[in-house]
Symmetry: C2
Subunit: 236 residues, 2 copies
DNA sequence: CTCTGTGAAGTCATTCACAGCG
DNA sequence: CGCTGTGAATGACTTCACAGAG
């Protein structure tokens, strides 16, 4: 257990490990070694051990890790033991799709509000979960009233920075940005970007230059991946 | 100009540079130095030069790069000069939202088909673009008929691997996966993952452990980011 | 004897810093 | 001069390999 600062690659992988453990727990498996887990989910066992060791000594030598126990530890580490409330700015196609997304629930996130500036959308309740669409001008108030601590941006790129500024002024410290825009955040505010354009264009590159050996198990970078999910009911 | 193999981080950044250049071109700017571009879009100038130098000597010493010229080069490099046709498997919330996504167009991608297994969806045309929903069992045929070369997976995690296998059997070499699952691809097939769960849980970590200096400009990893987009009409 | 936790080594990516072209 | 292209330096991340705990 060191007290170095933790890289984002590590926290991304912790999320992956959590999924793996959920899968194992669902299969009734009580204990797992880093090697077994690495093989099953194609990860690297040393990396698993190292990532975990940043936060404590959770394993038992000669045995491995207790699945439930490690799962609980990772939930704590990632702060998933406390409920998070999400606001989505931009009630377009993607925004409303996200408002219906069940995957949030599993990680202790609830979509509490949508925001838009289109008169005809404001005041409506949308989707299965009947989330209310608020006027984006009331963002700060609703964030406060609804105790929202995470904002998802699904707005056009040209307004993304302006909206982010408003979001930061409302005291939000965590933002998931879907707008294809390089945003400037003030320090203390974490912005994670999910950029479809970059993903697609990079795929296009791989089509343009077929490599003999396109790697099968890419590094778990950029916030992603897994082999099987415990929550199988989710539908995107 | 070397002939090393190019890292995915580099191709992701090329996509970002392309956006920047589009912005500059739209502003009527003819020529730009790596330093100016780095400052405007908060990138590192040495990295821009190095990334570009993998593919050729596009710059002019003492001047910089010609915006239009460099733009065209990157389009070629990324293979965006040839049209791509996209099939989306999973006509749920996210799948249909993506079918309506205008951002595809800018990068020379067209959504040619949706696939699902739900009887009531098959045969329908959905969204603004009236994309036809096909029976997923006919995937190979439709991929061939519609000349689809990129598949987007927006299916539940438990079926993602099975669907991917089918997709690979149909000869697809490029896949964008939204399912929270660690997929195994055969070599020569490129799978890019976009995992909302990982992104959110990693955000949760940053809320749980507020750093004094949460970094403002994270490395452009994991397929993302930008400051201003030339195509401002897109609505998610 | 198994498997963790971890220094040390190895690999890959970013940034520096400058020779030399225009 | 200014700015590119690039080796060399630095830094970050991953993997190896093993001492030692259980």
């Amino acid at each position: 257990m060191k007290s170095e600062k933790i890289s984002e690659l590590t926290t991304n992988r912790l999320s992956v490990y959590l999924r793996c453990l959920n899968t194992l727990a669902a299969a009734g498996i009580k204990t797992v070694s880093s090697k077994a887990m690495a093989e099953q989910f194609n990860l690297n066992s040393a990396q698993i051990r190292k990532d975990l060791a940043y936060f404590g000594e959770f394993g038992v030598r000669g045995v491995g890790y207790y699945v439930e126990n490690l799962r609980d530890h990772i939930i704590k580490i990632l702060g998933l033991d406390v409920a998070h409330r999400v606001g989505i700015v931009g009630a377009g196609n993607l925004g409303t799709a996200l408002a219906n997304y069940d995957g949030f629930t599993t990680s202790n996130f609830t979509v509490a509000a949508l925001f838009d500036n289109a008169r005809e959308k404001i005041g409506e309740r949308v989707g299965r979960n009947q989330v209310m669409v608020h006027d984006v001008r009331n963002l700060a108030r609703v964030v406060h009233d609804e105790e929202i601590d995470v904002i998802v941006l699904s707005v056009p790129a040209r307004v993304a920075q302006k909206v982010l500024n408003q979001v930061m002024s409302a005291g939000i410290k965590a933002v998931l940005n879907f707008a294809p825009a390089r945003l400037q955040a003030r320090r203390g505010v974490k912005v994670k970007n999910v950029d479809l354009t970059v993903a697609l264009e990079s795929l296009s590159y791989s089509l343009a230059r077929p490599q003999v050996s396109t790697i099968t198990n890419p590094r778990v970078t950029h916030a992603y991946e897994e082999i099987a999910q415990h929550d199988e009911t989710r539908e995107l």
